[in-house]
């Protein structure tokens, strides 16, 4: 077990290092601005006094490296400084929204993951049948459509023509859980459609790859019943690719969520990011980007660690 822990720790350390480099990238990208943040936020009409006041407020007169270290130190403890536009702490702007986004992503994942894996395995078992062909064309179409296309189609048919669900997913604190689920249904469904398609294709490929291996052939040739081949022989080895597929697609959810939140005016962190970009509110942009990147890296890390844990072969690199 010793070298397994070491392998996982090594992978974790590598992920942490990546995150550090990414945070450097996010912070210093803003330094590329012509002038500085204060000038960019206030625009050309600002007087030198107001620009200077904002510089003081954001502490822009100190060297960038020191500001980066302070920013990173704050970020670790959940303090991302203050918004350049409203002057509120960034955490107050995006904290609650981040929870909303996690709720939406979890909602979509709970529906999509079992559904996609079931369909993916089914399609792999029925490969080259009519059902498989139809599923192939449909998933390809779903992957190829921009998220906003799927979102607006759902709005058109499930909110406007048949008023079953609200088109605008505004949430408030005093809603019951059922209300919340009802309100967030369309954005969640949009994400489900996109993610299911990706996940189904990847699951199908993984299972087909597995079913082609010699030991499955062997089991079949010695007369093991088909369901037993699947459950006893294929499934234990299928967990690794499936866990990988799930984690990768959850990471994909994180990006898809931005466009979906904008379409449905869902009060999540993606919407906050887009608003901040429009207002050139750089502290908020940086914080939201870092949170997205961290989640993304974390899920990719989970995929790797999951693969190491479920596949003993990866523990002994040649």
């Amino acid at each position: 077990m010793g070298d397994l822990t070491r392998l996982v720790l090594k992978r974790l350390g590598y992920g942490l290092l990546t995150l550090l480099v990414v945070s450097i990238l996010i912070f210093f990208a803003v330094e590329l601005l012509p002038g500085d943040v204060a000038e960019a936020v206030l625009g050309q009409g600002a007087t030198p006094e107001t620009v200077q006041a904002m510089r003081d407020q954001l502490g822009l007169d100190r060297p960038a490296v020191i500001r980066y270290l302070e920013w990173l130190g704050g970020a670790v403890t959940g303090d991302f400084g203050v918004s350049a536009v409203s002057g509120d702490p960034v955490m107050r702007v995006i904290g609650a929204r981040f929870v909303n986004t996690l709720f939406l992503a979890a909602y979509a994942a709970v529906i999509a993951v079992p559904f996609a894996i079931f369909l993916g395995v089914l399609v792999a078992l029925l490969r080259n049948s009519v059902f498989d062909r139809v599923a192939n064309v449909m998933t390809l179409t779903s992957i190829s459509s921009p998220e906003f296309f799927l979102g607006y189609i759902l709005i058109l048919y499930l909110a406007v023509k048949l008023p079953l669900f609200p088109a605008i997913a505004s949430l408030s604190g005093d809603m019951s859980f059922g209300d919340l689920l009802h309100r967030a249904f369309l954005p969640a469904l949009t994400l489900v459609l996109v993610v299911t398609a990706h996940m189904m294709r990847m699951t199908r490929a993984a299972i087909i790859n597995l079913l082609a291996s010699p030991y499955i052939e062997m089991a079949r040739l010695k007369g093991v019943k088909p369901w037993r081949v699947i459950v006893k022989h294929a499934l234990p080895n299928a967990w690794a690719p499936i866990i990988n597929v799930v984690a990768l697609n959850l990471a994909y959810l994180i990006t898809g969520v931005v466009l979906v939140e904008v379409v449905f005016v869902y009060p999540g962190i993606g919407q906050a990011l887009v608003d901040a970009v429009a207002k050139r509110d750089f502290p908020v942009v940086q914080a939201a980007s870092l949170i997205f990147a961290a989640t993304f890296i974390l899920l990719n890390l989970a995929a790797d660690v999951g693969a190491i844990l479920t596949n003993p072969r990866l523990r002994h690199p040649k």
Binding site: A29, F148, F149, L156, V160, A167, T255, F282, Q286
Partner: protein
Amino acid sequence: MSAFVFGYYAFLILASVILAYVEWRKWFMMVFSLTLISFVLGIVGGTPALRAVATFAIVLAVAAMVSYAFKEFLIQLAKPNLAKELRTAPLTAAFGMFVIFTYAIAGIFAPVIAPHGEAEVIAGAFAAPDANMLLGADQLGRDIFSRIIYGARNSVGLALVATLGAFILGALAGLLAAVKGGWFDTFMGRVADVIMSIPSLIFALLMLSILGTATWVIVFVVAIIYSPRVFRLTRAVAGNIVVMDYIEAAKLRGEGDWYLIRREILPNSMAPLIAEFGLEFCFVFLLIAGLSFLGLGLQPPTADWGSMVRENATLISFGDVTPLIPAAAIALLTVSVNFVVDWMLYRSSGLKEQ
């Protein structure tokens, strides 16, 4: 029972009887199951449901026929070698090629095809469609149909240029890394890892909010974001080629790195790279569409599919499908490119799934 329903069932039953008689079992099973499903569907959904099924089937049939005709057309035009390859293409790939061809024509001849200019205000805001404006007017009174045609030139053109940029960057870095090896190889691999560990849309939003949305900035940022994918593929493909004997021979002859890349490695790694170009184009196209939907793409008054959807989205709450047409145009092109790439990958890998 209306004449439509009567005709619908008569056609299905007649078709299944004929198919059964000529023993096309697979088609018979499909048509007859559709008949049975229609009984249920007709009872639950009534005539509109049957009408929807019929419309869908007709669209599908027309698409299939057009693809078949286009495939035969290409076979007639192509040289014997290529024609043989084309004969093996499935209908979906032919459909993809047909759509790409149509978009190319629309993009190249946009000013000739479009009845109005892309920024020309000709009517009131959201004016209804008439003989002059096929799809009505947008929020400023510009002809939506003309803007969609121009969008084929602007949106697809931008995505093509950005993909080309990503390709040149990624492939060059990948080939150099494979030839040089050592610390350069490791360093480029790490850079690619870092870029790929930031979600692409987030990275693009961050960079564009800082650098502005001039067209060359969009091309540059998108090219950087997607070059690591090309880098990895090129590195992997070239890595297998560098160890070949003929590369060793060329090195012993005293050829330089550039010669090796150009004359020895590149010609041998073309097939996977071309397929990757198609896939990469889909990713880039969807990213740019997303960005312009968020208002960070081509700036107005340039016609662009992503921003057109956003600008006219209010129409959707009145049950109007017009704003969805540019979005559908994006989806259709991406699907088509995917169809063609699927076929190319299948052909080049020689993989026949059991």
